[in-house]
């Protein structure tokens, strides 16, 4: 152990005498480890945010829609527009399924401007649903009250606002009981939702919820555009029963909807069932590309860095042929010489790796500081960085070290 330490210090000595040369040699490894650590920690950070966000959708929720979340090519917009609308009746029928807790219709529209006295917010949206909306979507009515069945059935012009609208339109007074004007129609605020945060960068608190019956009256659907025929109608949010396999619920819903749409066995579905699962799968397929990129960068820098190290070690062996001869003459064995040069190349690679790890962390930190991406460095990445550079040092150091070890002492001593 003490011997190993003294050998390592000996190799530091060598680097000190050839500082620039050693640094240039390490450049390949430094660049490789830097990129790998930076990309890994950024992907890891992204993984955490995305996983958290996607999970916030709720693993027990299924969204019955005309379109799929993951394949929205412009080419099939025509086909999607031709699909039958999904309706509140469908939600009612789905709710009766044994594996379904509840299904609700949901629709929404973007609002240009929402005003109250001198305050206004723009780009908020209005959503239409029923009295079970807050339950299904995990909203909590913080003040006032939720919808009742009667509000929905009797088309009462009442609304519940998100916390963003509440704080911006009613900074110094209560919103409850106030009237808002939507598209020229008056809506009375009966409740305020508790703040929920953001989803993939979008605020979840910037909307007003009204009964879907009212929504249909106030916001008649523009029939014309393909876009509105695909995205403008209802989607049905389905909450699966607790302890039920979500696949089973999906199967039941699919079967029911195929029957309701009168699809023969040879016809494909004319609706889509979206879950957080497919979002996760989409995300993973994207990050897989990132991982392939890392493997490629790692492989290239491994070869480049390794060849650099091998080259410099061969130079070092040649320069120190006499030294090798002297050491052998006084009793160094082949293995002693092998170890000396191998340790040297490993130390060289490890220093490169260490610098790369530090640079990589700095780079990730820098990216985090100037962009919304949040890097997350874990211990295993640092180990990976060290393991990676140590293996480069061993793999590409073994040939020069062998060459040094196999030198004949007399010939080495004669070398000028």
């Amino acid at each position: 152990m003490i011997e190993l330490l003294s050998k390592i210090t000996l190799s530091f000595q060598t680097f000190k005498t050839h500082r620039l040369r050693s640094f240039l040699t390490m450049l390949g490894i430094i660049i490789g480890v830097t990129t790998v650590i930076a990309i890994l920690s950024l992907i890891e950070g992204l993984n955490r945010t995305v996983a958290k966000q996607v999970q916030s959708i709720g693993s027990d929720l299924i969204f019955l829609q005309k379109f799929s979340w993951v394949s929205t090519g412009h080419r099939d917009l025509d086909k999607l527009a031709g699909r039958p609308d999904l309706l509140p009746d469908d939600a009612e029928a789905i709710t009766k399924l044994s594996s379904v807790e509840i299904a609700i219709p949901q629709t929404s529209r973007q609002l240009q401007k929402l005003k109250y006295k001198d305050n206004e917010v723009s780009n908020s949206s209005v959503a239409g649903s029923d009295e079970n909306y807050s339950w299904v979507n995990n909203y909590i009515v913080e003040s006032g009250r939720d919808f009742s069945r009667d509000d929905v059935l009797h088309r009462r012009a009442v609304g519940i606002i998100g916390s963003y609208i509440a704080t911006n339109l009613f900074p110094d007074e209560t919103a409850l009981g106030k009237d808002l004007h939507l598209n020229g129609h008056r809506i009375k605020i009966i409740g305020v939702f508790k703040e929920k945060g953001t989803f993939l960068g979008n605020s979840l608190d910037d909307f007003i919820l009204i009964p879907y019956t009212v929504f249909e009256k106030f916001f008649p659907r523009p029939r014309g555009t393909l876009w509105s025929r695909v995205y403008g109608g209802y989607s049905i949010s389905i909450k699966a029963k607790d302890g039920m396999k979500i696949e089973e619920t999906i199967d039941q819903v699919r079967e029911l909807m195929r029957r309701r749409h009168g699809l023969g066995f040879d016809k494909e579905d004319d609706f889509e069932l979206n879950t957080q699962q497919i979002l996760m799968e989409l995300y993973q397929s994207i990050t897989n590309v990132g991982f392939i990129a890392i493997v490629a960068i790692a492989a290239i820098s491994l070869v480049v860095g390794g060849i650099g190290i091998m080259n410099i070690m061969l130079v070092s062996v040649a320069e120190r042929t006499r030294e090798i001869g002297i050491r052998k003459a006084v009793g160094a064995s082949n293995n002693n010489i092998l170890a000396q040069f191998l340790i040297e190349s490993i130390v060289l690679a490890l220093i490169g790796g260490l610098i790369g790890i530090v640079f990589g962390m700095l780079l990730a930190w820098l990216v985090s500081a100037v962009s919304p991406l949040k890097a997350s460095v874990s211990f295993w990445m640092i180990l990976l960085g060290f393991g990676f550079s140590a293996s480069v040092g061993i793999f590409f150091g073994i040939y020069p070290a062998r060459r040094a070890a196999s030198l004949n002492p007399i010939e080495a001593l004669r070398y000028e």
Binding site: I2, I326, V330, G331, I410
Partner: protein, 228 residues
């Protein structure tokens, strides 16, 4: 005295052939040679007669092409590289004409070098090297590097290095060849003293005055012993 223990090294009909491309150079053509305990031998002969080749084989720096070489009755000609390294380390000390010190190490560290390969602890290495370096009269220069020392001083360091493992035989290939006659004489005094203390010394030299220090002189000619 028992003959077996008296003879340290014995070479029997040793031959060494070098190949320069397809041309064979017969450096040694059948040399038999004994080294007895506490011997003081000089090897002389014209340039190219095989003196260096012989001491390289005797000191296990090189291996013979044919013939046997025994070290205290063990046949070394069949030893592996690892075993030969060990033999060089603990049996022999070697002094070169050109000193052959490691330029980046201090005199002290150069002297301690053979101990590293014997797995001696750093503390002991330093202690032992200090003791030896004092014996060759360099106590005040031991932290200097070779390029800060004179030729004579360098050769003393090399001698100290050869002595540090208490070798059974000390080999020297023209140890005074790079030195002026006065410094050479000082080095020879050290050798004389070593033999007086019971050490065994084998040296190669061109200089008759140097050879005169030895008790036995072997003359080589064309790879054969011409005169013993």
């Amino acid at each position: 005295m028992n003959k077996k223990t008296d003879i340290i090294c014995r070479a029997v009909d040793v031959k060494k052939t070098y190949w320069r491309g397809k041309v064979a150079v017969e450096a040694l053509r059948g040399v038999s040679f004994d080294i007895k305990r506490n011997a003081y031998i000089s090897i002389m002969g014209p340039s190219g007669s095989g003196k260096s080749t012989l001491v390289h084989i005797l000191s296990c720096l090189d291996t013979p092409t044919s013939g046997e070489y025994y070290l205290e009755n063990a046949l070394v000609s069949k030893y592996s590289d690892e075993e030969l390294a060990k033999v060089r380390n603990i049996f022999f000390g070697f002094i070169f004409q050109s000193f052959s010190l490691l330029p980046r190490l201090s005199a002290l560290d150069n002297v301690a070098l053979p101990l590293i390969y014997r797995n001696v602890s750093k503390h002991e290495r330093i202690a032992k090297a200090k003791e030896i370096i004092k014996n060759v009269g360099l106590a005040d220069r031991m932290l200097h590097r070779p390029n800060e020392l004179s030729g004579g001083e360098c050769q003393r360091v090399a001698i100290a290095r050869a002595l540090v493992n208490d070798p059974k035989v000390i080999f020297a290939d023209e140890p005074t060849g790079n030195l002026d006659s006065k410094t050479g004489a000082e080095i020879m005094e050290i050798f004389d003293h070593l033999v007086d203390e019971g050490n065994t010394v084998v040296m190669v030299t061109h200089d008759v005055n140097v050879a005169a220090h030895a008790r036995r002189t072997v003359k080589l000619k064309d790879g054969l012993i011409a005169n013993d």
